[in-house]
Symmetry: none
Subunit: 87 residues, 4 copies
């Protein structure tokens, strides 16, 4: 029987922990999917109001890229300041 095999391979504690881990991942993935659905709903609402969702997605993407570039620039700046003993 498979349950026996499992019993042989893992201690009770290990199996419990495994079960907990699986449960918590599944719960988190569900949350993630819900947030994703929520995002879709916002786009759908915007579309219903007459906005061009493609352009909207572009705006989001560009702002994300800008943010990323700023962060990279900051990181470089920090590196320089650190190198100069300014931090």
């Amino acid at each position: 029987m498979d349950a026996d095999a499992a019993a042989a391979a893992l201690t009770q504690a290990a199996r419990d922990k495994l079960k907990q881990t699986v449960m918590s991942i599944e719960k988190l993935e569900e949350e993630k999917a819900e947030v994703g659905d929520h995002i879709k709903a916002v786009y759908a609402e915007a579309k219903a109001m007459g906005y061009d969702t493609k352009a909207l997605r572009n705006v989001i993407k560009l702002r994300k890229m800008d943010r990323r570039e700023r962060e990279e620039a900051d990181a470089i700046l920090d590196t320089y300041l650190l190198a100069l003993g300014e931090i």
Copy 2:
């Protein structure tokens, strides 16, 4: 000036609504990323405890497929029951 162009193209209300939409999408995407990070952390913890994360991911995937199949089966059943006037 670009701001003038924008002012010409959209009403103040439309621009405010657009701004709100962008903000709310960005907020949701941030949440989503956080949940994703959380998931990674759980996998990392499991790995640190000696679990094989690849196997773990497989477990999650299989359970998700099972769930999906059950849901599909339920949907088909509902369709049949509906067709038979049983619901």
Copy 3:
């Protein structure tokens, strides 16, 4: 027997064509892998000569992005010219 099942499901011609398709995809994937290996070899050689491969990869990526942007700009230009009846 499985071969019988296959025989029942597909005509001889269809099976031959399928076999040809699989063979040609496999051949192409092999080619692709070889080119990939070749690329790796070039990076390895560059590294052996003292170049920073990470920086090198960045150069390649940036040039690709530039190329893409140029192409997009050209496409937009073409659109405009076309709209103006200049082409």
Copy 4:
């Protein structure tokens, strides 16, 4: 000026070699992309002929795995034979 900085950092020969390297990587990546396009075309053709491309991709994948397993088995066999002085 940037060109001066580059001139200061690298010898003419080093810059030429770098240029060659970049060119050859870009050429290879282009080839790779072409082969990739070719593969897509074959799948598209198969689809147009009525084949289920998802199933087709599965076939390719399974055959690749089989090949890999065979190669691994062969490698192990070689190791044993070598160890036994049979090669």
